[in-house]
């Protein structure tokens, strides 16, 4: 052994260590890869040796190579070997390597479980620490599940160093194993008040991270955090807490009101910029959450803006950046306050730092007004010209468009100007946002009727310079603009000055180099344009010109027929055939223009992009089912041009075969449909086919704008937006003068169509140059107002959306390893009294500290009553609000079911608490300590205690854990477990819980208690399924098979088994018959036994306790699609709050609001039914009004509630 050791050391001497490796790599600059592969070979050799030191050295080198990008996963097993070394030096190397390269896919990771557990419980804090650090990087769901309990124990470690690491790692554990959150949460919460600031900070860190994702579950912690905020001096902690409040305030406006003052104080007092900045941020969040009901909130806004201005003006670029960032948040709700700092922000646009410029751009969005828009955009356009680097330029481009188009072009007074801006933007090379510009062009042209003429003129210029556009940008991005240009010119062709010229431009050979979808639009719109040319020429009596156009089409269209793009090809060949027909007709001098243009008749209405999605599916409609047999092609009658077209074909296409016609027709129809489908503006079901655009209604209303400007329309690509700025100024000036005049003469002048008669130059007064008939986008009737489609269903944090106030179910306990269980406390009944007495000296001291702590906690608990804390006027002490009551009950229960294998200390406390005698003096002492407290409280507690004794079968009572927190519970404890069946051997109690994840599953937890002297084994539960309710059985078993209970019961022991049932309809209560069969074995032998039972699934068991804010509740009630029912129960003596607590507990409701003796409650079923209750208490009666999405369910629920109330 010694020899080997020496040999190992000598080997080791000649090995390279990490430094040698690094030096070697640096000396082999030319053939680095070769050198490294050599080294890896050496490392492989080293890993084969026995010496752990050699291995560790090898692993250390591998870690370095990993950083350089080499995959070292092949050495995973060796890494584990090094991790399990007994020396800290090596262990650390191993854990570091593991943290760098292990992940969920590493298959050997499961081998580490026991090693890590060992290290976690190591006496050396360094071993434990290094294991925790490593684990935090590679924890997997399996590791999290298996180790959660060990880590939780470490949270109460004596060394703060370990405590803080254990607390931090819990976040990772929660992420990987969400089920551990609820059982671990009470202790995590405790750590918020840990004496060590590091541990406290870690706990704050974890809870903030949790709350950020699911803030509503952490609202009840607000008072505790508030206390921390006002007491802590650690800026890190403060920042985290303040950030957390920022996330909480949107959920509870009252919280915001409470926060404003301390935050403002902090803003005034702190010298730390980071803290100041976060305070400002949270104040902003508060102000956003508050509606304008705050009296002095303009002062707060002013303070924020003023502080932010200081930041922005600072020479430190970091502060400038953050200032702008925060400013943009204010902007959303208080644009006015920000607008006064326009100068500053415009200045930031010129900053050399791109990050700052981008932030300033964001701000500009909200700063524009009718007055300033042109000026700001002009400035931005200048930046666009200067900008180097496409990303920033693209950003500018999108911002310009955003700014101009915001809230339905609210700020644009002159759309000609806007169109020319858009056209100017098309000159940008290499932009990715061609489609954005195109979309704007289309949108404006369609929705602003008055601008069409101008838009068409501009677009035709664009089309004319198309080769330029397309070639200079190598088909990227910007050519999308041609899509819009072609469409606008085609659709509104009647406005074209020189249709022939445009037609020619659209048919140039170069067009075929454009992307397919643009060509397709070209082809389609060529036909529209052609139709309108025919119309004009025929009216003008110039058949030659019309024939010329036909000729042009016949010449040029074949180039599209040959296109590789199917869409283009199809449309082109359709249109080619059509034009050939027209040619024939023209030869016979038949007028065709009317019929041809009828193809494209119809008014366009803009439709909201989400309109289709928002159409509610009528009840009972299955969209996937065939209504009739699949129809043949010819049945469709939904095409509006069909009749016209069909006739025409019939009349004039005699030589053709009828079938060919059909086919051709179908194809054209298809092409048309395609066109319509791809064109969002083309949805219109009932057009009047004879109407033409010229005589469309509303056109008369379009003001004839005297564009007395000298815009050189025909110069390609030269619309000068700047001219508009001048013109606009003049126009406004004139307008003002005019108004003044009008005012003097009190006479209406109708030179231009304008509205507004106030003489002030306020923003809203500037009348637009065009009457902007901005058509709002159409939405279907009774569209669903849902915005839920934006939620990401794959969010990993969703699993952590867990109600933390709900009582902890037995099933939720963290799995505990069996052999560790041996250390776990024995049931208290059996605990030797002498043990307590033997240690009585020590425990007493601890008891004292414990008591102090419990007192503290109690105060904390008072604070837990969020409503109480938030309300400005404290409710009378005798009747705390019902929410408080429920919170307390829940707290009590969750405390009761704290994990079993706690540290020694807690256990002793528990024993003491459980012990009546130990308890009694405590009560006395407490009451002397707080003389002011009501004696009643004590009595109540005494009662409480008695009731506990009276009902020893209660689930909680059998629990050995009780840690003092719930002692002053004013409410009798309740259990949701009901008796199921009992015989000489076994007693069964059960509880049904809806599943949070599955909408049709419930979990039945059955507690089996063996009260015989036999060992019960081979237990099997068989249930007769009903149509509606079925038991989930292991795969492959038949309906009649039972489900085995996964444990045996020694005498006197109870355990819980869970069974999953799937339910279809939940509106009615269900009963299932079942049998428990088992073998009872004692000294005399074994007997087969049976116990029949009936499982009762009440409607309440399908409900999930769901908190609901009063606003949402009110909205729900207003929505009106809930059915109503009510009950009344007489002879109730119980206090209202107990009553509510009972309803909450047994029927899974939560209190929304309570006023005096009237409370509203809410719950939700696993299938999403909303249930609202209004509970009113009279003299000795209680009436319950219910509203629910399902009438049957409501009826049944109310019956159950009645049953509960009747017992009160």
């Amino acid at each position: 052994m010694a020899l080997r050791m020496v040999k190992g050391s000598i080997d080791r001497m000649f090995d390279k260590n990490l430094q040698d490796l690094v030096r070697g790599i640096r000396n082999h600059k030319e053939d680095e890869a070769k050198y490294i592969s050599q080294c890896i070979d050496e490392i492989k050799q080293e890993l084969k040796q026995d010496s752990i030191a050699v291995k560790a050295n090898a692993v250390c080198k591998l870690t370095y190579l990993q950083m350089l990008g080499y995959d070292i996963s092949w050495a995973a097993f060796n890494i584990i070997e090094v991790m399990s070394a007994s020396k800290f030096t090596f262990k650390r190397i191993g854990y570091l390597a593991a943290s760098q390269c292990f992940h969920e896919g590493t298959d050997v990771i499961m081998l580490t479980t026991n090693q890590i557990r060992k290290d976690l419980s190591s006496p050396s804090q360094h071993d434990t620490g290094v294991a925790l650090t490593g684990l935090s990087c590679f924890v997997t769901p399996d590791l999290a599940r298996d180790l959660a309990n060990d880590i939780m124990t470490l949270m109460s470690h004596t060394k703060p160093y370990i405590r803080k690491k254990a607390v931090l790692i819990m976040y990772k554990v929660f992420l990987k194993h969400p089920e551990s959150l609820r059982p671990a949460f009470p202790r995590l919460k405790e750590k918020l008040e840990d004496p060590d600031p590091g541990v406290q900070s870690a706990a704050v860190n974890v809870i903030c991270e949790l709350a950020r994702r699911n803030p509503k579950n952490y609202l009840s912690l607000a008072p505790l955090f508030f206390k921390l905020m006002t007491s802590s001096t650690n800026n890190w902690v403060l920042i985290k807490i303040i950030k957390l409040f920022g996330a909480l305030t949107p959920l509870e406006p009252r919280l915001g009101k409470k926060l404003i003052e301390p935050l403002t104080n902090l803003i005034h007092s702190t010298s730390a910029m980071s803290l100041l900045y976060e305070c400002v941020n949270t104040v902003i969040a508060v102000l956003i959450s508050l509606s304008s009901g705050m009296p002095n909130h303009s002062a707060s806004i002013q303070l924020c803006v003023q502080k932010l201005r200081i930041l922005i003006e600072d020479s430190d670029q970091n502060l400038k950046y953050l200032g702008l960032l925060a400013m943009s948040k204010i902007l959303k709700t208080h644009p006015k306050s920000v607008q006064s700092h326009k100068d500053l922000i415009l200045q930031c646009l010129d900053d050399k730092d791109e990050s700052i410029r981008l932030r300033a751009l964001d701000l500009l969005y909200g700063m524009v007004s009718k007055k300033s828009l042109m000026e700001i955009v002009k400035k931005l356009m200048a930046h666009v010209d200067k900008a180097e680097g496409t990303t920033y330029r693209d950003e500018l481009l999108t911002k310009i468009i955003d700014i101009c188009s915001q809230s339905n072009y609210q700020h644009i007074t002159n759309f000609e100007w806007y169109i020319s801006i858009l056209v100017e933007l098309t000159r940008l090379e290499g932009t990715r946002h061609g489609h954005l510009i195109a979309a704007q062009m289309l949108d404006v042209a369609i929705r602003v009727k008055a601008i069409r003429k101008f838009a068409v003129a501009q677009m035709s210029v664009l089309l004319d310079s198309a080769p330029l556009v397309a070639s200079s940008t190598q088909r990227n991005g910007i050519c999308e603009v041609l899509y819009a240009a072609a469409w606008i010119c085609g659709e509104f062709s009647e406005h074209l000055q020189e249709p022939q010229r445009t037609l020619e431009a659209m048919l140039r050979p170069k067009v075929t180099t454009l992307p397919g979808h643009i060509q397709a639009v070209y082809v389609q719109n060529v036909l529209k344009l052609y139709a309108s040319i025919l119309q004009q020429e025929e009216q003008a009596g110039q058949p030659e010109a019309a024939q010329q156009a036909t000729q042009l089409l016949l010449e040029r269209l074949p180039q599209f027929v040959q296109s590789a793009d199917l869409e283009v090809q199809e449309r082109a060949s359709c249109i080619l055939q059509l034009v050939k027909h027209v040619q024939k007709l023209q030869a016979k001098a038949v007028p065709v223009a009317e019929e041809l243009s009828a193809l494209f008749a119809g008014e366009l209405n803009p439709v909201a992009p989400k309109a289709q999605k928002k159409v509610p599916v009528p009840e009972g409609l299955d969209l996937d089912a065939w209504i009739n047999e699949p129809p043949s092609d010819s049945d469709s009658e939904d095409e509006r041009p069909k009749a016209m077209f069909h006739e025409e074909e019939q009349r004039h296409a005699k030589p053709r075969q009828a079938e060919v016609d059909e086919e051709e027709l179908a194809r054209r129809r298809e092409a048309r449909r395609q066109e319509q489908a791809s064109n969002p503006f083309y949805i219109k079901s009932s057009p009047s086919p004879h109407k033409r655009y010229q005589d469309a209604p509303g056109v008369e209303h379009i003001p004839v704008v005297q564009i007395d400007l000298s815009v050189p329309l025909k110069v390609p690509g030269l619309p000068l937006s700047e001219q508009y700025v001048k013109l606009e100024e003049e126009r406004r000036h004139r307008q003002k003068l005019e108004k003044d005049k009008r005012k003097k003469r009190k006479k209406e002048k109708r030179g231009r169509r304008r509205h507004g008669s106030l003489p002030t130059e306020s923003d809203e007064d500037i009348a637009p140059a065009q009457q902007v008939d901005i058509v709002t986008e159409e939405m279907p009737e009774n569209a669903l107002p849902s915005d839920e489609d934006d939620k990401d269903p794959n969010d990993p944090y969703r699993a952590l959306d867990i109600d933390l106030d709900k009582p902890l179910a037995d099933s939720e306990k963290l799995p505990v390893l069996k052999h560790r269980n041996a250390q776990a406390p024995k049931p208290p009944e059996k605990e030797d009294v002498p043990v307590v007495e033997k240690k009585s000296k020590k425990p007493k001291k601890k008891e004292k500290t414990h008591k102090e702590r419990s007192r503290k906690r109690e105060e904390g608990r008072k604070g837990d009553d969020l409503d109480f804390w938030l309300s400005t006027t404290p409710p009378p002490a005798a009747a705390p609000s019902p929410a408080a009551a429920t919170v307390r009950v829940q707290l009590g229960v969750s405390a009761v079911t704290a994990p079993k294998d706690d540290s020694e200390v807690t256990r002793r406390e528990q024993v003491a608490d459980e012990d009546d005698e130990a308890l009694e003096p405590k009560v006395r002492r407490k009451s002397t300590q707080k003389k002011k407290k009501h004696k009643k409280e004590k009595e109540e507690r005494g009662k409480d205690k008695k009731s506990k004794k009276r009902r020893p079968e209660r689930e909680e009572a059998t629990e050995p854990v009780q840690n003092g927190a719930p002692q002053e519970e004013p409410l009798p404890p309740m259990s949701s477990y009901c008796p199921l069946a009992e015989n000489a051997y076994v007693k069964m109690t059960y509880d049904v819980q809806g599943s949070l994840q599955e909408d049709s599953q419930v979990t039945v937890s059955v507690i089996l208690e063996n009260h015989s002297r036999s060992l019960l084994k081979n237990m099997e539960l068989s249930v007769l399924d009903s149509l509606n309710t079925k038991m989930a059985r292991p795969e492959g078993s038949s309906v009649h098979d039972g489900v085995p209970v996964p444990f045996q019961l020694p005498p006197g022991v109870s355990n819980e088994a869970q069974f999953v049932f799937s339910v279809q309809s939940i509106v009615m209560a269900q009963k299932l018959k079942g049998t428990l069969s088992f073998i009872a074995k004692d000294e005399d032998g074994a007997t087969q036994e049976k116990l029949d039972f009936k499982l009762h699934f009440s409607c309440s068991s399908y409900l999930l306790t769901t908190p609901c804010c009063s606003d949402a509740f009110a909205k729900l009630l207003e929505s009106g699609d809930l059915s109503v029912s009510s009950i009344k129960v007489d002879g109730i003596s119980m206090s209202f709050q107990n009553l509510l607590a009972r309803i909450c507990f047994h029927h899974h409701f939560s209190v929304v609001e309570r006023v005096d003796s009237c409370a509203s409650m809410y719950s939700r079923s696993i299938q999403g039914h909303h249930v609202c209750l209004l509970v009113k208490k009279g003299e000795s009666s209680v009436s319950v009004d219910g509203k629910c999405s399902d009438a049957t369910m409501l009826g049944n629920l109310l019956e159950e509630v009645k049953g509960t109330l009747a017992q009160c």
Partner: protein, 209 residues
């Protein structure tokens, strides 16, 4: 949450990489390259925040970095971290390195990346800030070094791992390199987060190569 911590030099050579989300080695290298590309082209006197490292998760994330002499320290964080706080954390990190290595320079990081990892592990754990107090961190590191030394003595006197040996290694480094190092002076700053009031002047050193 901190998503990643990267240290690389002015030429983009990684000196330390710590990812708190799993990525393949190739992706890691790509991220380092991309980050270097983003950071290196920025002037000295612009802000230390950068949006849109495209590779590490979405728009919520920011790059927060500091440039010391030849090294870039980059933290990729999401919106739950305070920007100025992280800047301060970087400062704490560098100061701690300075204390543990006694006048830290790039060479220390090159040859003792494992030690740098150990120091970092006492500050940031699994992407969350563990400790911000430098003295606390240094105490832990010292205690660990002591433990390590004691283990070496009991193991064998023939060779040693760690400080002594590595110093010997350093002696073997090219002489001109040694002359270029050891002068990465760091200013003393007050402990509390107080960034706004401090301007850190890092001497512009001849870049080390």
């Amino acid at each position: 949450m901190i998503k990643a911590i990267l240290i690389f030099n002015n030429h983009g050579k990684p000196r330390l990489s710590k990812f708190y989300q799993p990525y393949s080695e190739d992706t890691q290298q790509q991220i380092i390259r991309e980050t270097f590309h983003l950071v290196s082209k920025r002037d000295e006197n612009v802000c230390n925040f950068l949006e849109g490292g495209l590779l590490i998760g979405g728009s919520d994330n920011k790059l927060i970095y500091r440039h010391y002499a030849t090294l870039y320290f980059v933290f990729c964080v999401d919106s739950s971290e305070s920007e100025l706080g992280i800047l301060d954390l970087i400062q704490v990190f560098v100061e701690t390195l300075d204390k543990c290595f006694e006048n830290v320079c790039e060479l220390d990081l090159i040859f003792h990346v494992d030690k740098v990892h150990n120091i970092l592990a006492e500050m940031v754990m699994g992407g969350m800030v563990l400790e911000t107090n430098m003295n606390e961190i240094v105490t832990q590191i010292d205690a660990q070094n002591k433990l390590e030394k004691s283990e070496q003595i009991t193991y064998t006197g023939l060779f040693c791992i760690g400080q002594d040996f590595s110093r010997a290694g350093l002696a073997g480094a090219p002489a001109r390199a040694v002359s270029a190092v050891k002068n990465m002076n760091l200013p003393e700053i007050p402990r509390n987060i107080n960034i706004g009031d401090i301007s850190i002047k890092v001497p512009n050193l001849p870049s080390f190569k």
